[in-house]
Amino acid sequence: MSDMLVFSIFFALLAVMNLYRLLKGPTAADRMVAGDSADVLICCAMVLYSVYSGRGIYLDIAIVSALLGIIDTMLVGRYLDNGRWLKK
């Protein structure tokens, strides 16, 4: 029964490992990619914990988290491209 809990903790640890790139990443795109994949991993961990504990509320939070993660990724992407080309 507790195997789902172990998997859930494993995915949360993977998300914590992504935070290293989020803190260190040299450019804004690196940080955003790391944040996006941490978001997907947290979503997976939440689904597994919901299945373990049998409470449905975590699934709703997982849906909201997946949708909001996409929206902020697109927001930062549109902000970065600026509508024009920048010379390096």
Binding site: D3, M4, F7, F10, F11, L14, M17, N18, Y20, R21, T27, A28, A29, D30, M32, V33, A34, D36, S37, V40, L41, C43, C44, V47, L48, S50, V51, G54, G56, L59, A62, I63, A66, L67, G69, I70, T73, M74, V76, G77, R78, Y79, L80, D81, N82, R84, W85, L86, K87, K88
Partner: protein, 115 residues
Amino acid sequence: MILLRLLIGAIIVIGGIFALAGTIGILRMPDTYSRMQASTCISTMGAIGVLLGAALYAALILHAPGTTVKIVVIGLLILTVNPVGAHAIARGAYRNGVRPENGMKIDDLGRDFYE
């Protein structure tokens, strides 16, 4: 019953291996675009494996159809909506002047829009 649990565990472990590969890729890859490619590994096969395992667990062991359908909807959302974000951020990074340090073998986008 125990065989079913082993099967579900195996599916989730396969997803976990791909998610671990993606995370290690994000930490180790040398330039921004390669890190983006590694992060795609997490949001496809890792998410598919985990959500498939969780959906099978909810359907066959917990006997909860509502939970199963919700998990499948989460999987569809991640699969349909995640590439849009990856595309936006890759284009934004390129337009903002991010280039790999080691150079690229061929760069058609720079060739067509800079010279």
